[in-house]
């Protein structure tokens, strides 16, 4: 039985796990964006927070993913459900590229332009929303793109703690020494990563100031 036959025969399960995978990534990315971008903005306003925040996100990034899933198991409420745990771990991993790109994006806006805005009597909020964020948007979206592609790959490991997703096939395939099963997880996961990369790449290009 070749790979395609397997996919066709098991298409309900493939679709189900793909959907699970997309939800894991989607939900965690949503939370990460809601936390990471405001944090990135915050550290442009309070430079003293810059080091601890970026440092913290950096440290999270260095924890091996399997270990992070393990560390989070004893956490109350979170550890009770594999899905929650996977979402939290993926969220934590996505933070660094989001915070860093938001920060560098805003800091990279031409100083003369920002100063002109300030000199014309724009409040900090007006400066942020009308000048800095629009001009940094391309770089920020690039961060979202990196984080998403990263998450799609990482989410396969969530299956190790029973959170589902395409990793199910991969782990099952490893246990059963079945290439087809491994491919049935790996190929759709790779395809998802590609689609996310291309899609967000397009958005990034559209939103970058020329």
């Amino acid at each position: 039985m070749n790979f395609w036959q397997f996919i066709v025969q098991n298409h309900t399960e493939v679709l189900e796990l793909t959907w699970e995978h997309i939800s894991l990534v989607g939900i965690s990315m949503l939370i990460a964006v809601l936390i990471g971008i405001p944090l990135g903005i915050l550290i442009t306003r309070w430079p003293a927070l810059n080091k601890p925040v970026l440092g913290g996100a950096n440290i999270i990034q260095t924890i091996p993913s399997l270990a992070l899933f393990g560390f989070l198991l004893p956490v109350p409420w979170i550890g009770a459900r594999a899905g929650r745990l996977a979402v939290l771990a993926l969220t934590l991993y996505a933070l660094l590229p989001l915070i860093r790109n938001t920060y560098t994006g805003i800091r990279g806006v031409d100083r003369a332009v920002v100063e002109a805005g300030r000199a014309m009597g724009m409040t900090d909020r007006q400066l942020l929303f009308q000048v800095e964020l629009p001009l940094a948007l391309g770089v920020i979206i690039a961060g979202v793109r990196i984080a998403t592609v990263l998450s799609v790959g990482l989410a396969t490991i969530a299956a190790a703690i029973g959170a589902g997703g395409l990793g199910e096939f991969i782990f099952r395939g490893l246990a059963m020494v079945s290439d087809q099963l491994i491919l049935a997880g790996a190929v759709p996961a790779a395809a998802l990563a590609l689609v996310a990369d291309l899609g967000l790449g397009w958005v990034e290009k559209r939103l970058s100031p020329q």
Binding site: E115, A116, A119, M120, P209
Partner: protein, 255 residues
């Protein structure tokens, strides 16, 4: 600490110094009165403290002692109100690259919550005032020439009709011909509008051409304050050395 606002004085520096965090003094004990309707040129080399002086007026830098605008120390002003009554023009204009010309010029009126029609009318008026075709209103700064950008920068600074205008080497990045053109236009404009202008430049010819008075700043100190005529014939050795430098520049072309 408040003086009665003396008529005729728009901006006053009272013994103002400015130090960097590291302690290096950029400006030391400046005393200067800038009169209503005059163009005061701050002349000096790069790093002499001209721009620092300018930024102390609209509080882009925080003053150590009183900088008085309209009879009130700037520290007692609401900083947003203060800045909106002071136009600001910088080298290369500092236009917002993601805004059209129209939105760039209409920025302060929009912040001041003017109606859309009023803003549009004002933008057209200003484009005409600075000698630009109204067709460029929908263009982006990157689609303009350097001279056009600088004109838009002036229009933007004038948008809400501020009584004071700060200009930091506004024509510094332009080619000599465009620069001469804009200098002439600025003269004509200033004749009509009679704003209080503080103009920073290191170009003595520009200072002589545009200034009502010239303040020569050297290493953070005000060393001379004169009308262009008096400046040109000053016996002060520092001023004379400046004038000489330019004179040789004019009369002895290199081979």
């Amino acid at each position: 600490m408040n003086s009665s606002p003396r008529d005729g004085v728009a901006i006053e520096f009272r013994n103002v110094s400015y130090c960097l965090d590291g302690g290096r003094e950029l400006l030391s004990q400046l005393n200067l009165e800038i009169l209503r309707g005059e163009t005061l040129v701050l002349l000096g080399r790069s790093g002499s403290g001209k721009t620092t002086t300018l930024k102390l007026i609209n509080r882009l830098l925080a003053p150590t002692a009183d900088v008085v605008v309209d009879g009130r120390p700037t520290t007692t002003w609401d900083v947003i109100r203060l800045r909106r009554m002071i136009g600001y023009v910088i080298q290369d204009a500092g236009l917002f690259p993601h805004f059209t010309v129209e939105r760039n010029i209409g920025l302060v009126p929009k912040l001041e919550k003017w109606t859309a029609e009023r803003i549009q009318k004002r933008v057209e008026e200003l484009l005409q005032l600075v000698g630009l075709d109204h067709q460029i209103a929908s263009r982006y700064p990157r689609e303009l020439s350097g001279g056009q950008r600088q004109r838009v920068g002036v229009a933007r600074a004038l948008a809400a009709d501020p009584p004071i205008l700060l200009m930091d080497e506004p024509f510094g990045a332009l080619d000599p011909i465009t620069r001469a053109e804009l200098q002439r236009e600025f003269q004509a404009l200033q004749m009509r509008l009679q704003k209080t202008v503080v103009f920073v430049t290191h170009d003595m010819r520009e200072a002589l051409l545009l200034g009502t008075r010239i303040a020569l700043i050297e290493a953070g100190r005000l060393v001379a304050l004169n009308t262009p005529q008096a400046f040109l014939h000053s016996k002060d050795p520092l001023v004379a050395s400046y004038v000489d430098a330019f004179r040789t520049d004019l009369t002895t072309p290199r081979n």
